[in-house]
């Protein structure tokens, strides 16, 4: 492992309004590793993800990304930092009114001043990486759910992020498409040398891509370690989780 973690979470407590969802969560994520955050529904996976990408401020504790504490950043600094990250939302979160090409172009238009021909080539390259180069002019509503996720993935990697966050990448996809998406994520991780944080509760997906597992239970980190260690764990909840999936 590298010495400096890419993400450092210290004694994080967070939630919505007065409801505490996460309590005293601490974890570290290092460069080039794929960490799966898992747990049963309602355990706080998505809340943790929202804290990691700064969409939800913590009640207590801190989240640092590339050594910068998210809560201490002003808006400009936050946006600068987020350029180094990519986020793949559960349903893709593509803008429905514009084409796949235009969706992928958004970060380039907003954050860079590259010439249009290079932007075209870059968009093509990223669409080619996710196998959607022939669908550039389609609207999100004209392609399938799996393709929408791949298009969203192309958008999230357009600026070559150092870390990619993915919220339930396989949710709503058939096993073959989910498998292909996982393989795509792995190949992109190798090509772009990214760290990846994946929120999921799909065991098949975890087995395919995770280097390390963070298991959440009722807003607390119950376990961190490799998949092998998790599967041999005698912690009841973890045992049940893997048992029920097999």
């Amino acid at each position: 492992m590298a010495e400096n973690p890419v993400i450092q979470v210290n004694q994080l407590s967070s939630g919505y309004e007065n409801e505490v969802i996460l309590e005293d969560v601490s974890l570290e994520i290092y460069a080039n590793e794929v960490v799966a955050i898992l747990g049963t529904s309602g355990c706080g996976k998505t809340t943790l993800l929202k804290n990691l990408i700064g969409l939800l401020p913590p009640f207590e504790g801190s989240v640092s990304l590339f050594g910068q504490n998210l809560t201490q950043l002003d808006e400009d600094e936050y946006y600068q930092l987020m350029r180094k990250t990519g986020v793949l939302f559960q349903h893709g979160a593509l803008l429905n009114s514009i084409s796949i090409y235009d969706n992928v172009a958004i970060p380039l238009e907003q954050h860079t001043k590259i010439p249009p021909f290079l932007a075209d080539q870059l968009i093509y390259l990223k669409l080619q990486m996710v196998g959607l180069q022939k669908y550039a002019n389609f609207l999100p509503s004209q392609i399938s759910g799996g393709m929408r996720k791949r298009a969203a993935l192309a958008r999230s990697i357009i600026l070559d992020p150092h870390i990619l966050f993915a919220d339930e990448p396989g949710a709503g996809l058939d096993p073959v498409t989910a498998n292909n998406l996982d393989n795509l994520l792995l190949s992109l991780k190798q090509k772009l040398s990214m760290s990846m944080v994946i929120v999921t509760h799909e065991v098949a997906s975890i087995k395919r891509i995770a280097d390390r597992i963070v298991y959440l239970d009722n807003g607390n980190v119950l376990f961190t370690g490799s998949l092998q260690q998790a599967m041999q764990s005698d912690i009841k909840q973890i045992h049940n989780f893997f048992e029920s999936a097999s």
Binding site: I114, L118, L122, A136, D160
Partner: protein, 361 residues
């Protein structure tokens, strides 16, 4: 042989590619072109996909101008990135292109043709089910006519009362000064009554209802279309037009004449306030004058207008609702278009009916 060397910066990323490209371009475009350009990577520590594509672009530019482009001092990582971030078969990439004038004209004409065709089919369907669904209540959603009547009619009463009162008030106010000069104070009652019954009452009511209801119908139907509820009805063997649209049409057709009558009365009261306070008229003579001037023809016209407007408001809401494209953004677009078209059609229909009966005498 002239040789130019470009020393690439330490960070060759999307943020720096512009400078690199313009530097390379300025050398390539020189009047006395160099025979060879060397790209020196000795300082480069970071290169992303945009950086790699920039290097490939410079190589292509050089090749096109018969300049020998050589890469020097490449680390293994940089070499790997250059191989990795290479565009494949560019022919399969359809970059978005702007449509030319005739293409746009063609698209627009086709859209208009499809819209007119859809409108005619929908109008025919609504007309057919207006009668058939009346005799077959099972085709309609149960209890929906009353529910819609409350939403469209009862809930619109306060705003229509306020607007109608102000319209009657302003009509009387604007005419009072002129009529007073000729001692024709009592004719303010005639003016307000005729204006409200023939024009302002049904028109203002229809515009208000179009704003509230046409948008609501379009939003509801568009959301149902986007979320596949209309398809779900279809596969259950239920036609969406009698089930969703016809109850609304019945509710509007009943509500609109009642609302227009209400608006007429309130508008006349608004005029009466000016008559009593400014023109020294008394309440009873004012109302006697109103009753004397209103003929069955005025009543028939405003009732006819209300029924026609009701059909148009329902039709535009349904038309834009069923034609929605895309997701949430499409719903918003349908709603706006429905309101604009409903108000436009109401005013056009008002003019046509007004003209028809004007020449009838």
């Amino acid at each position: 042989m002239q040789i130019e060397t470009i020393y690439l910066p330490a960070s060759l990323t999307v943020m720096h590619s512009r400078e690199l490209l313009s530097k390379a371009e300025s050398i390539i475009k020189l009047r006395e072109k160099p025979a060879q350009i060397n790209l020196d990577f000795s300082d480069v520590t970071v290169m992303d996909s945009a950086g790699a594509l920039s290097v490939h672009h410079i190589q292509h530019q050089c090749a096109a101008k018969n300049i020998d482009c050589r890469l020097h001092n490449l680390s293994t990582e940089i070499e790997h990135s250059l191989k990795l971030f290479k565009i494949g078969d560019a022919d399969s990439f359809e970059a978005p292109h702007k449509l030319g004038f005739f293409e746009r004209l063609g698209h627009l004409s086709y859209e208009v043709y499809i819209s007119i065709k859809d409108a005619i089919i929908l109008m025919a369907n609504i007309s057919y089910f207006t009668f058939t669904a009346f005799f077959k209540p099972k085709l309609r959603r149960r209890g929906e006519v009353i529910n819609q009547g409350v939403q469209i009619g009862v809930n619109a009463l306060p705003i229509i009362a306020l607007i109608a009162f102000l319209i009657g008030f302003i009509l009387a106010l604007q005419s009072a000064a002129q009529l007073r000069q000729f001692g024709a104070n009592i004719y303010v009652a005639d003016l307000v009554a005729i204006a409200m019954f023939s024009e302002m009452g049904p028109l203002i009511t229809a515009i208000m209802v179009a704003g509230r209801t046409s948008s609501a119908i379009a939003a509801e139907v568009a959301t149902m279309t986007v979320s596949e509820e209309i398809d779900a009805l279809k596969v259950m063997g239920i036609d969406a037009i009698p089930y969703v649209i016809i109850p609304k049409l019945y509710a509007i057709t009943i509500s609109l004449p009642i609302l227009a009558t209400f608006a007429n009365v309130v508008g006349i009261i608004g005029g009466m306030v000016i008559g009593v306070t400014y023109l020294d008229l008394e309440v009873l003579p004012f109302f006697n004058e109103v009753i004397s001037v209103i003929r069955y023809k005025e009543i028939f016209i405003y009732l006819l207008k209300s029924v026609v407007f009701a059909f148009l408001i329902t039709f535009t809401g349904a038309f834009h609702g069923f034609r929605v494209k895309g997701g949430a953004e499409g719903v918003g677009r349908s709603t706006t278009s429905a309101v604009v078209l409903a108000i436009f059609l109401v005013i056009v229909a008002d003019s046509i009916i007004g003209l028809l009966f004007y020449f009838e005498g």
